[in-house]
């Protein structure tokens, strides 16, 4: 079938250009990568390559033509032997846009030619009954539902059974499932994490609760060298279907050893999946997915969020897939990307910015591995500006990684450098005023948005 070659955009702002020279003529056979023409703008001359192979049926715009609008059909390409005598009329009817790649700017994307790729289906059907629930209740319900569903699921950790969990996430589980499936361990993170990995190798599905993720540093060898790598090292013979969960990040006034965000650490590791929910609905839907996932999942909760209430859908079996970000607020002026408790600052900043006439889009990543790059890119292509917000330290932050990804894949769409709002580059101090200073603030998010919008 004949397809049109469209006038390419060499930058997001290019509206028209000169078709300086054709390097092919009608009837020529071209292969993918062959140079078709030279296009000139006021900034540069670029070679324009064929994407598909075929025969040049008709040249619609003669060389030397100035002011050719972007996306105007400039030639028709067809299969060998195809009759393209009526190509010109076909071109008028065609609506399909065709992506061409320029040689000097192989990664340059055309604004009009990049369709939104992200999965934007709703998390639950419209009209679903909703109920108010704390994050704590949501996590508890998720574990109860999954333990009822699968006998292989069990919970182990410090004080999870008799005491019902240091943060009461496992309230009622011992009564419901008995001591065989809700196991109190000594204070021995390296030991019980290792034991859980061994049980997972044998096909059980342990949920390991760390009283906080700060203590999981004791177990890091088991999490990374054993849980994350074994499926690969064994050539697929066995893996570790399990969840490591517990509160992560700063609580309040507990100082350096109890206040660290490990999101970027775990997100670095191939073989792990990493989840960091903000809302109760996400906590529930994602924890259920985590328990069912055949891989080791790091599930990062937050002590401050445990008691916070959100709307949760009333559904028999509600899960949220990994790798699907949530657009928490739609907007057109700037993209704010965050996850976990960072969303508190992002949302508060967006509301204040709206009062000042800045319409921010807020994306909650929800899972960091896999990460929903498409939703971020789609949004940046719309707003042309991005600010990331996280509680973790600034060196090697999730925001750094996202900035690099956006630079690589949507460079031409950016109207300002991406800014990363992170926690300060210091161990968490104890004094209230210092702690406040070390954490991310809403004002810092607003300031970053002001910078990227040149306000």
């Amino acid at each position: 079938m004949a397809t049109e070659i469209l006038m390419p955009a060499l930058s997001p702002t290019m509206e028209e250009g000169t078709l300086a020279k054709w390097l092919v003529k009608e009837g020529d056979t071209v292969n993918s990568g062959d140079i078709l023409a030279e296009i000139e703008t006021d900034k540069a001359t670029m070679e324009f390559e064929a994407v598909d192979e075929g025969v040049i049926g008709k040249i619609l715009v003669e060389e030397g033509t100035e002011g050719v609008k972007v996306n105007t059909p400039i030639a028709v390409i067809g299969e060998e032997g195809e009759d393209m005598s009526n190509a010109e009329t076909a071109s008028d009817a065609a609506t399909e846009t065709k992506e061409e790649v320029t040689k000097d700017q192989p990664m340059a994307q055309q604004p009009a030619a990049v369709p939104a790729k992200a999965d934007r289906s709703p998390d639950w059907p419209e009209g679903t009954e909703m109920t108010t629930m704390t994050v704590r209740e949501a996590l508890n319900t998720a574990m109860v539902e999954e333990m009822e569903r699968d006998d292989g699921v069990f919970l182990m950790g410090e004080e999870v059974a008799e005491y019902q969990g240091a943060y009461k996430i496992s309230q009622g589980l011992l009564d419901k499932f008995g001591e065989k499936r809700v196991i109190d361990t000594p204070i021995t993170e390296h030991g019980f994490a290792g034991i859980a990995v061994g049980a997972a190798f044998g096909g059980l599905k342990p949920i390991v609760e760390f009283m906080t993720f700060n203590f999981a540093m004791q177990a890091i060898d088991q999490i990374i060298n054993s849980a994350a790598k074994t499926l690969y090292m064994s050539g697929g013979q066995m893996g570790a279907p399990m969840v490591f969960r517990g509160p992560n990040g700063a609580a309040a006034r507990v100082a350096a050893q109890h206040s660290q965000d490990y999101a970027a650490w775990y997100a670095h590791i191939p073989g792990l999946k990493v989840v960091m929910p903000y809302t109760a609905a996400d906590a529930k839907g994602l924890l259920k997915s985590a328990i069912r996932d055949p891989n080791p999942v790091i599930f990062l909760e937050n002590e401050i969020l445990y008691g916070r209430s959100f709307e949760v859908p009333v559904l028999d079996d509600f899960t949220i897939p990994f790798g699907k970000a949530r657009i928490a607020r739609e907007g057109k002026d700037v993209t704010i990307v965050s996850f976990g408790i960072g969303m508190s600052y992002a949302m508060e900043a967006a509301e204040k910015l709206a009062e000042e006439g800045v319409d921010a889009e807020v994306i909650d990543l929800r899972t960091l591995r896999p990460l929903d790059y498409d939703t971020v890119l789609d949004s940046v292509r719309k707003t042309n500006r991005m600010v990331t917000v996280e509680e973790g330290w600034p060196v090697g932050a999730i925001g750094n990684h996202l900035s690099a990804h956006v630079m690589t894949h949507a460079f031409d769409y950016l109207d300002a450098p991406v800014l990363n709002v992170c926690g300060k580059d210091v161990p968490m101090p104890y004094a209230a005023n210092l702690e406040r200073h070390a954490l991310v603030t809403t004002d810092e998010v607003i300031e970053a948005v002001n910078q990227v919008t040149y306000r």
């Binding site: 061994g198 088991q222 064994s234 697929g236 013979q237 073989g271």
Partner: protein
């Protein structure tokens, strides 16, 4: 020598398995020395009676975890030469499709949960495997192999504590070959190794790890008791590593004498001892044993040739098995 398995077939199988390990290691060493094998490998030669005495007391349902010095455990638990040499050479037909190598061979089909090359790293896994057995009401037993060097890792004490609290069917098998890497064991281990297990209320045994029948007899008893819910147990097996810490550790005189090596090789070799016993008891003749040795040598030569000619994994496999679907 102590008596354990009682029929001729069992004795010959134990001999055969020990010779297979020695032959495998001799060939692996040769591959390394001739620069055909990359990386790093740790020879099990000298310690054969430990792996074979223990694994011959296990079934395919029983599990083991292994170490960086793991070829012996792997062979003893039933692995094939061909897939093992392929793995050593990084070939697609290796047990781990060439992605694990010498230090990470796993063989699920025979209950080998894999070699963990972090010293002491598999102690949690073995104990967790035993927890699984108990939770599911199965009667399989897990043996955790580790060296004397690994007794310095805290994980051992964390998991022995829980194994004892929960009566798990796990046997901790400490292969004490006298050296923690390049350092004498007495310089890294204070007090008694078995006493450490006893501190948790775990029954512990110290045994001659060069006597395959003694190792097998003790293990059979302990496995039977584990199956009845009387675990865990701890065994310290006195043994010796003929090669250096790894294949590149050639000049060893600064940490151990040639006389010492010679003494172990000539006077305490587990294969020579068992062979002598087999002949003395009339279980096999010298000719039959020589024929068996020759057959194993031939198997190994053929497996090496096969592995050398086998193909490498397709590059598309580089990101296969990072995640399970």
């Amino acid at each position: 020598m102590a008596k354990a398995k009682t029929n001729t077939e069992d004795y010959l199988r134990m001999y055969r398995q020990m010779v297979r390990i020695r032959t495998f290691e001799d060939n692996a060493n040769q591959l390394y020395l001739s620069a055909k094998m990359p990386g790093l490998t740790h020879m099990y030669s000298g310690e054969e009676a430990v792996a074979v005495g223990i694994c011959e007391a296990l079934t395919d349902d029983d599990r083991i975890t292994s170490t960086h010095r793991g070829h012996g455990h792997c062979v003893a638990k039933g692995a094939e030469f061909k897939e093992m040499f392929c793995e050593l050479l990084g070939k697609e037909e290796g047990y781990c499709r060439g992605k694990g190598g010498s230090m990470h061979i796993a063989d699920q089909s025979h209950g080998n949960l894999g070699a963990n090359a972090i010293v002491g790293g598999s102690m949690g896994i073995a104990t967790g495997s035993a927890l699984r057995s108990k939770m599911l009401g199965h009667d399989d037993v897990t043996v955790c192999f580790f060296g004397d060097g690994a007794t310095a890792q805290g994980l051992l004490y964390e998991v022995m504590n829980m194994a004892a609290l929960w009566n798990l069917p796990v046997i901790y098998a400490c292969e004490n070959n006298g050296y923690s890497e390049y350092t004498k064991t007495e310089e890294i281990a204070a007090g008694s190794i078995t006493a450490r297990a006893e501190a948790f209320g775990i029954e512990a045994f110290k045994i001659d790890g060069q006597d395959v029948l003694a190792v097998n007899e003790l293990t059979q008893k302990l496995v039977a008791r584990c199956r009845k819910g009387e675990g865990p147990f701890f065994i310290e097996l006195e043994t010796y590593r003929y090669h250096g810490h790894h294949v590149g550790d050639i000049n060893r005189e600064y940490y151990r004498s040639k006389d010492e090596e010679k003494d172990w090789k000539e006077n305490r070799d587990p294969i020579i001892r068992f062979r002598g016993w087999l002949v003395e008891q009339g279980i096999a003749s010298e000719e039959e044993i020589e024929a068996m040795n020759a057959e194993i040598e031939k198997d190994a030569t053929e497996a090496v040739a096969y592995a050398e000619a086998a193909k490498y994994p397709d590059v598309s496999e580089v990101d296969m098995h990072v995640y399970a679907d």
